[in-house]
């Protein structure tokens, strides 16, 4: 069975508001860049197109119908997935591994700045019988409950979360996609008022408009179009249960995340802690506490150990095992279904940039992401060069 690789990637936006382009034009701009880098004509060379999107984020019902044109997929095999770009990546890997598809284009986009009633949209994802009628005044309340539970279980305090915020907001200062980066200190975070306990506005990633298109190819096709394929060694995703049964969830952990990472490791034939096979990780951090939780579920470090490593600078961009050297979502924002794909894009570009500087045996990156509240869907990717 052929291996699958990311052969090219294009992006557009990653700004709090992209005022000049519609979401379809953002898709086109990202696609144009992805195809131009490797000289691919989507009308002839791409065998299938997959778009990851969700109607409510678009404000358009059956928005699938808008997917083909901006990525060059009119009258070509096109499918949509209601999920994160990593879930599209999983579909692309499966198509490529059938042997019937040489090149597959995947896409996700987000324009949160177009949504005037974001709370109303987010409320629509809550159980309509038992939860939505309460209309909690801030949809981040679910993250507040999770964060409080996580801190209660681990015994960690807000300082641990502030360290994550400061690390990521500062790391993003070098990243052109990190529009929300800033030289935030631990003290800034600790002294800020909470929005939903125990999270301040610094602990909650803001939103960004963004689009990403990636080309995924089988081994032969990948080597035809690029000298620098980045192999998708492992990929996994899992969903615990829907929002109709939120009350059954484990609030201080995320079993779907652990399962997704194990699935990716199994596919890659890897075992042990990620730092034993990867050089860095891009992990879930749309809420600060999630970085420590993601590191725990991925097997990098339990929360106390993770806190100590964080304090010691081990997860800094130049540390022993950099975690979110891109700045993560705290610096680049949350772009709905683009968000996990953003982590993959960052890992892809960093692996290519490091190239020969990667330590032998560690020529990989780990990606761990969540689809965000109120979902309990998680994803993981292991990329290698």
């Amino acid at each position: 069975m052929t291996r699958a690789a990311i052969v090219s990637a294009g992006w557009y936006g990653f700004k709090p508001e992209v005022g000049d382009l519609s979401f379809r034009e953002m898709m086109f701009e990202a696609a144009l860049r992805a195809y131009a880098k490797v000289g691919v004509d989507p009308r002839k060379d791409v065998d299938a197109f997959i778009s990851c999107q969700e109607d409510y984020w678009e404000g358009i019902a059956i928005t699938d119908e808008f997917a083909p044109e901006p990525v060059g997929g009119v009258l070509r095999p096109t499918l949509t997935v209601t999920g994160d770009l990593i879930q599209c990546l999983g579909q692309a890997v499966m198509l490529v591994r059938t042997g019937y598809f040489d090149l597959v284009s995947i896409e996700a986009h987000a324009k949160p700045s177009d949504i005037l009633t974001l709370k109303g949209v987010m409320d629509m994802a809550l159980d309509p019988i038992y939860l939505r009628p309460l209309s909690p005044p801030n949809p981040h309340f679910l993250a507040g409950i999770m964060a409080s539970s996580f801190l209660a279980r681990t015994g960690l305090g807000r300082e641990a979360l502030a360290l994550v915020v400061s690390k990521n907001k500062n790391a993003g200062l070098d990243n052109p996609r990190a529009s929300h980066a800033s030289p935030v200190t631990v003290g800034d975070v600790i002294s800020a008022d909470t929005v939903v306990d125990p999270l301040t506005r610094y602990d909650i990633a803001p939103f960004s408009d963004a689009a990403i298109v990636m080309l995924v190819g089988g081994e032969e096709a990948a080597r035809k179009v690029t000298d620098t394929p980045v192999w998708i060694e492992g990929i996994g995703w899992a969903t615990e249960s829907g929002t109709g049964s939120l009350a059954y969830h484990s609030w201080d952990s995320m079993p779907s995340m652990k399962m997704a990472v194990e699935m990716a490791k199994g596919m890659a034939g890897l075992s042990g802690r990620p730092q034993s096979f990867a050089s860095f990780a891009e992990v879930e951090d749309r809420y600060s506490f999630m970085e420590l939780l993601a590191l725990e579920e991925a097997g990098v470090a339990d929360p106390i150990e993770g806190f100590r490593m964080l304090e010691a600078g081990d997860f800094d961009p130049n540390g022993f095992f950099p975690v979110n050297p891109s700045g993560g979502s705290l610096a680049a924002g949350v772009s709905f279904e683009v968000t996990g794909g953003f982590r993959v894009l960052e890992a892809y570009e960093r692996l290519l940039a490091l190239g020969g500087d990667l330590e032998p045996g560690l020529e990989r990156a780990l990606v761990v992401s969540w689809r965000g509240p109120p979902t309990r869907t998680s994803m993981s990717v292991i990329l290698g060069v």
Partner: protein, 155 residues
């Protein structure tokens, strides 16, 4: 919905639209209907599957068997909670709001609902009880429970 071109406060052109998603009705299902009836009577029910009771009630048990609707007596405790202090738009709320996952001691699952208490008084494991609206105001919905409140000491 038709609309007029306009600029947002930052000078970016936008075309207004509206998704009329508020005009839905939801079928509660067989066990949801039992819960609605119970709420109207000032009670809370769950589904008994084997020896375990699940709240809110569900038509399907985890083993795909059919359960039996039973009353949940409690007492309830705070399993997890947060305090909401600002709206999504960043405006301070007039009063902070405590919202929690509340679990009955004799059941699994639970309800997410408000807790009427000073934020600093709330803790995980705190015993609480539901406070229902007056009977004539109940509609058979989750808001028939106004909030949960701490169980008075010695109760």
């Amino acid at each position: 919905m038709a609309g007029q071109w306009g600029k947002n406060p930052w000078g970016v052109y936008k075309f207004p639209g509206k998704m009329e998603v508020e005009k839905y009705v939801y079928t509660p299902g067989l066990h949801g209907l039992e819960m609605a009836k119970a709420l109207k009577e000032g009670r809370i029910v769950g589904t008994k599957c084997g020896e375990t009771v699940y709240v809110p009630p569900t038509t399907l048990c985890p083993d795909f068997g059919e359960g039996k609707v039973v009353e949940v007596s409690g007492p309830w405790y705070v399993d997890a909670y947060t305090v909401i202090r600002e709206s999504l738009e960043g405006e301070k709320l007039e009063e902070p709001v405590v919202i929690a996952l509340l679990v009955p001691e004799d059941a699994e699952g639970g309800l997410i609902h408000y807790v009427k208490a000073e934020p600093e008084e709330v803790f995980i494991g705190m015993m609480v009880e539901p406070v229902f609206r007056p009977a004539e105001e109940r509609k058979g919905t989750i808001t028939d429970i106004m909030y949960f409140r701490p169980v008075p000491e010695g109760a």
